[in-house]
Point group: C4
Amino acid sequence: MNGPTPKKSWKEELFTIIFEANTPAGRNFDMALFVLIVLSLAIVMLQSIASINARFGPEMLTIEWVITILFTLEYILRIISLKEPLKYITSFYGLVDLLSILPSYFSLLFPPSHFLLAIRALRLIRIFRILKLGQFVREGNTIVMAMKASTKRITIFLAFVLLLSIMLGALVYVVESGVNEDFSSIPQSIYWAIVTITTVGYGDVSPITPLGKIIASGIMLLGYAIIAVPTGIVTVELSKRSDKDAMNTKSCPGCAAEIHDIDARFCKYCGHSL
Amino acid sequence: MNGPTPKKSWKEELFTIIFEANTPAGRNFDMALFVLIVLSLAIVMLQSIASINARFGPEMLTIEWVITILFTLEYILRIISLKEPLKYITSFYGLVDLLSILPSYFSLLFPPSHFLLAIRALRLIRIFRILKLGQFVREGNTIVMAMKASTKRITIFLAFVLLLSIMLGALVYVVESGVNEDFSSIPQSIYWAIVTITTVGYGDVSPITPLGKIIASGIMLLGYAIIAVPTGIVTVELSKRSDKDAMNTKSCPGCAAEIHDIDARFCKYCGHSL
Amino acid sequence: MNGPTPKKSWKEELFTIIFEANTPAGRNFDMALFVLIVLSLAIVMLQSIASINARFGPEMLTIEWVITILFTLEYILRIISLKEPLKYITSFYGLVDLLSILPSYFSLLFPPSHFLLAIRALRLIRIFRILKLGQFVREGNTIVMAMKASTKRITIFLAFVLLLSIMLGALVYVVESGVNEDFSSIPQSIYWAIVTITTVGYGDVSPITPLGKIIASGIMLLGYAIIAVPTGIVTVELSKRSDKDAMNTKSCPGCAAEIHDIDARFCKYCGHSL
Amino acid sequence: MNGPTPKKSWKEELFTIIFEANTPAGRNFDMALFVLIVLSLAIVMLQSIASINARFGPEMLTIEWVITILFTLEYILRIISLKEPLKYITSFYGLVDLLSILPSYFSLLFPPSHFLLAIRALRLIRIFRILKLGQFVREGNTIVMAMKASTKRITIFLAFVLLLSIMLGALVYVVESGVNEDFSSIPQSIYWAIVTITTVGYGDVSPITPLGKIIASGIMLLGYAIIAVPTGIVTVELSKRSDKDAMNTKSCPGCAAEIHDIDARFCKYCGHSL
């Protein structure tokens, strides 16, 4: 601090621009990226609408490929600028960045995979950092951590709901299959049981026999009651966490990990000084 | 207090009548306003029913314009009677009052906008003040404050649900679009994903391929589990707020016991009338 | 306690049989009542099924009238046996008992009202007392008291949801009415908005324009988020109450009120010794 | 412990293999069992799909019978290896094991009952023990215990919802039955009321009269509000329980009960040393 700042290497400069948002260059980079992501998503959606694709198909395809090449370049630059690129590549953001360019290349072989570009939506999560919405990031972290702490219980709960749906689906299949074409097989009946127990209720499949309706009513009441379980689980976890525990969202120069404790001076993933 | 009350200016009189409900004139003004709002809403609804509009169209239009002019006058009087009218104009109530008269004037240019008069429903919030439902207002505030404190978390949660719907919609589009006319484009598929993840389930769009149904089942179970998140958030906020005011603390004249249920008319310890 | 029990008057005897379940006669009376209620409900349901009514119509009508006359006699005896019959007549149980016989008599004038006999289902609440399910009654009380304490907040919340539905219904009406026959009027659109915001989602009415679908998606996400509010309210109330606070379910000889605090020695509604 | 381990009897050996997963033989046994259960479920589902059954019907039937015979043998061995087999037979796992073989034998008399083999899905609960997912078992226990503690309240709540559905169903029947074929009888209307109050909303039955729609809207808002009750109940129960209370999942050699307190040295069901 009290000596002259040592000149940054080009790698460090690149890192600051690409991974940080606290310099003008870094901020402009992030804004351009954000605009590209939104544009890219809009193109993917418009391409899927037959009438629009018929008129502007070639133009949209050109734009999409330009964006894909830019994203590919960005991905390569990110890897180059880091000291431990593997950590980034295997991180959540790294995987999202990779998955955001792959569908374009795969679509050369299997065209419909092209629409999987919608995964680029996940890149929008960066918007929170770009807009310096620190408080949102912190609140988001509280939710994510409560979800993580509840993962095991929620998993068990969903496994339980699935087992229940398998058995109830088979039961209603036995009751309805003879007279109701909707219940054409057990997998179809299980699909119906899930639609019912989660209270979604499309109505594309519904029972017509009195006994089927009675069982269906039981499943609905059950679904109505057990939705309480995941809610209780998450509520208890959330109430354990305090709003106070703020987080440091500065990227680690070593591995690009972004969430550090507020008092952390070294990255807890790679040991690099923050 | 011990000197003669200074005579109020006409502005102060106007203020008391329009903004307060603790004088006979103010109370009458509020009651008349309430009746007009309800009448106005009824007219708007009836106008939208073709058979009724065919018979009473001109009469209803006349009543509506009379009410609109009265509301416009009221809005002007409110502004005149205040010392700092800008505060009112930019407040929630001020905006609602303005938005409640604009659709009538806009409908001269674009007739269907006429039905946006339904926004007058918001003016009914005044009913709580008119009916002196102080306790309801207090409880309402607790809810509003808990909601405000949860706004950031709920926003993040809804943004997350939206991102999820975009990606899952695109995924099911890739799976279903070839064989199912319902999934005609990605935006349409995103609409379906939102209908499913929120457990609404209209059934106007539903998957028909086995893979589509499997993914749909996953989305339903996910939606069934993550509804726990906003619930947990609001519950935690609400539990932070206390409402001690629950009990009747009048002493019993018979035995001086102090805590009685709010509906008790006799002391439950000695039988004395309270 | 240490002297001979004074002979009970016939009124007191009647009271013991009709209102209490702790003597053999009282217990038999309650069991007979329970059987009659269930039989009566079964008859009402079967009468509504055309094919069954065609075959056993007259027989079922006879049974129903016999039960109605028995219930009428029981209602009169209840009034006679009490010292303050007005308290019973205006109590929850008193109103249910009255409403359980009225539809039969009204059906002489307006036949379909006959099916409102289904209100007899409410009489089944007595089953908890008959079966001496004290613990269930206590748990039920905890729920009822938490619901009562939440009534104001839930009312405000539902009023808010209703106002929202009125405005959103009108908004979607403006957007959809020209091209979608489903949205034929504002009341119909409000009905749709309620179906959507509560996540019921019949699908009998659904938007077809892109803008309509976007607004609908917003309403769904809103409904998905604000369901958190009543849940939070009730959870907070329930968590305030302890499982321990048991209740005394002995009927008051003065006014037949049934729920008294465990330490109450006098009825808190009429002051009579318990 | 300080003397030579006494040689196990063949019964004890069998017990270790069948009921424990901490020896190589026991682990292999459990893995084989798991594979058989999954295979069996897959067969049952495939058999229900007409096109697949037409081609591979006899082969699948053969596999199913082989599995059924293996499961029957396993059930007999389990009974033989225990000192107090009755405890196992009447336990949850014992009943599931029995119900998993019965449908095959019943299907000789009543073929469709064959599909009830889906109950074998319940046997998958053993997977948690096989995979040594102790933590999942512990979390699952917390949920199960919270559910058990809430059983009475949830039961009362569901009984209340059912009574409400009976009355509201009958009410809407009176309103709709004349003009709407969907509401053909009171039981059918009750089915509709349950579909609506639980927010499932198939849309196979829906009101068409204005009054019917108003009542339906009320039922939806009610259902939207009272879903708060089971949620509140379970949340309160869950928050009472601590994550810490770990459990001992070693099977009791006397009765095969699996969940014991961490400090238990004797089975609390049969007193056998653990």
